[in-house]
Subunit: 270 residues, 4 copies
């Protein structure tokens, strides 16, 4: 029983690091991945009215089929998770496992379907199914590149958060300035500071939809200064990440051919 | 008396470098920070007409409360600042302290409230209260990242200023060219060279609101060249900052483990 | 015969690496390049109605002339390709050669002209002639820089593909979120998730045409978060490529003057 | 006479490298720089109709004054240039000097004023006066940063030109594709391939004015691919320049503390 549980646990919880990929495991992975992708595709296509309306029966059937599989997978996972040392306790371990972010997403992906029977319409939560897509990223041939990227992001996390903080503070200041400058001329577009922040986001990210922009000379001069300052802020993440990739590359190279002191020939720990 | 003054000075002038953070100091810092954040939030929210109108009495009360605190803080700061060696002189030191940029901002944050009694409406200066937000940046968990960023900006200051100068010169040239090319076809949008500079800012920053753009074939050809050149200029700050972050990282690493072979103790040139 | 074939093969298949550029080969290269450029220019100019209509006879004549040359070149290439060791077999070699991407493009560049006689209108394939332009890139004075760029792209291919994958997943998620947030307010612009992806592309790339943008407060808040996250994603390729160029430069320098002390001849670890 | 000519030559041709800045030379430099800046300011301000119309007499007077100074400076320069070894020949040297780009710009800056007497209206050439602004860049406190930037641009010139070439080829291809996809649906906006190139420029540079964009599903799909590819191209100059700045910084550091072989202690030329 315990052995079977371990085997099944290994099967349902995709073991990325394991080198002993059995053919069964590969088939299971590929199948689940395909189901998730088809599900996402179904959500996307069904949103097109002409298609979603005409083939409603097909999408409903596929929905039932998917929810059935996801439900079974969820139950099996909860049953098997005690095979993992981290969730070994029969009750507490299962609760702990059920509360991990990925498993909550798994639950939210099919729960709305059942709640609908009780007249609780939370179907918009189906969109959460899309987050299962993130799992796809962990697999496949680009996993190494993605791991490198994730590593760089994690190492530069506090720098990037600091940029986001500066951005937020500057956004509030810029929106307030523009609100005072443009409110009288455009009481609609710059109706309040939060509304002016929408202009600020479009400007700082250099998207510039063109639905909100200053029209008074003062607003344009101030807006120009803010926009040009925005270039500098926009350049920060690029600079931080570029530096992060360089450092990572350097670190990897140093690991390959460890530094050896040219005087005594012994390795030097960096 | 002098000892009390020193203690109070330490309290009101947030001492970022001091390691001896007493609980009182921490509480005071957190409280002032919360008040500033709530004030900014109040300014932002009160600008939304439906909310600002209905809860006018609340925002007025909070305004009076905030101004009272800020006024007391300002007076205490001015009284205590002589504890600092830089502002030791009873009169000149206080004047000198009162004229530092941060203290001027503190004054402008609450002064308009009093001037209003004298029928001088400078309430738009309240927006300056937002700049107190910048103080928030100095605190908290991202202070190290922010210090790194500030350091990189300071080291690359002259390079970035030079880019800004090139940008300004190119902006004037580009706006003049477009003015001559588009003035006849669009006497409204390209009414003058300063007006054409608004197009130039939107183009160089790649925001492109879409309120002003060339429509004549000549204007479009010239505008295309200017826009593509703009890519190069836009890439400059990113390049400068990326290089700055790399250098800083390198410098820090070199400082941490100076290049000395741990076996033989001899320095190694990199 | 075989010698002639080798000479002609050398002539028609531009031999970039060969150092023995004969004057004939140079003339042939320049001529074909000029013909391709003129062809592209003709396609571009003929699309302007006033010009394309008035000088229709000229563009038709130039079309016939170009197709004749391209046809002859294609036949000669197919005949001569057996001179190359890779395509030595009289039949299979020629088929193999005919199926290389560049040769298929060559075929598609003139085939529509003949199919037109059989009432099959595939003239839109003429646009493929433009891809011959890519050949121009291989020649000329910038070939070294382009080779460096191609090299960096190739080395960072998997990283860039991984970014594209992340971008795609985020695009689907962002479009779904915005569809649920904006569909009711703007049933036209956000008519379906694929339609919302058009908004997503304009936002992630920071183009922001301004034809589609959120108008509900919820949509704007969510759109702002997505847009700011987009900055980070946008910064990734720049960071990856910057790091790639640095590495390539380093590698080239190390290859040029290998780290050997010119005085004592011993290698130095960097 | 020759000595005076040398002194005057030194005066009029700003000698950036010379360390022996006499006070006279400094005054002359500052004066000319101020005149150029005021001239640019006059051109910019006079373009504003309300100001340019009311103070027409002032701008005319300043125009006459400026042209007089520029004319005298031009004549003096031509007279004195033979003091320079490069332009030593009394006639040929002067012609050679007169044909250097900066001197041609100087001529075009005031020549239109005189031609106007002969009913030749080339006043739009006055805009060329703006290019004299570029001279301002060479002076002042940012000259070192600007020299570094110019150096990086010059070293990476062929790389950047290659990017521009790739951009141009891709622009033609993208515009042709979009022309075939959108011409029927929007015969106005995508009237011809050159017109579609205007869409291409706005898209590749991520400006996105919003005056031209695809509306057909096919056009949007193709446009999305082109836009996302554009991110990669846009990231190239940033990557190239970042790498250039890093290399330059490295080179400067290596010059400071020359590499010394750790075995024999002798310097190593890199």
């Amino acid at each position: 029983m315990n052995h079977a549980r371990s085997r099944i646990w290994e099967l349902v919880e995709v073991s990325y690091d394991s080198d002993s990929h059995s053919p069964v495991l590969d088939w299971y992975d590929t199948g689940m991945m395909a189901l998730i992708l088809l599900n996402v595709l179904a959500v996307v296509i069904a949103s097109v009215e002409e298609i979603g309306g005409r083939f409603a029966w097909f999408f409903s059937a596929f929905e039932v089929f998917s929810v059935a599989i996801f439900t079974v997978e969820y139950i099996v996972k909860l049953w098997a998770c005690t095979a993992d040392a981290r969730y070994a306790h029969p009750v507490l371990g299962r609760v702990k496992y059920a509360l991990t972010p990925m498993v909550i997403i798994d639950l939210l992906a099919f729960l709305p379907f059942y709640l609908w029977f009780f007249m609780i319409d939370l179907r918009f939560l189906r969109a959460l199914r899309l987050f299962r897509l993130l799992r796809v990223l962990k697999l496949g041939r680009y996993s190494q590149s993605l791991a490198l990227m994730a590593h760089v992001f994690r190492r530069k996390r506090s720098d990037l958060m600091a940029v986001a903080l500066v951005l937020l503070v500057m956004l509030v200041i810029a929106a307030s300035i523009m609100y005072y400058a443009e409110h009288e001329a455009q009481p609609e577009a710059f109706s309040s500071i939060p509304a002016a922040m929408w202009w600020g986001v479009a400007t700082f990210t250099t998207i510039g939809y063109g639905d909100v922009y200053p029209i008074t000379p003062l607003g344009r001069v101030l807006g120009s200064f803010i926009a040009i300052l925005g270039i500098g802020i926009f350049a920060l993440p690029a600079g931080i990440l570029a530096s992060g990739f360089s450092e990572e590359h350097e670190r990897m190279r140093n690991e390959c051919n460890r530094n050896v002191c040219p005087q005594c020939g012994q390795a030097i720990d960096e």
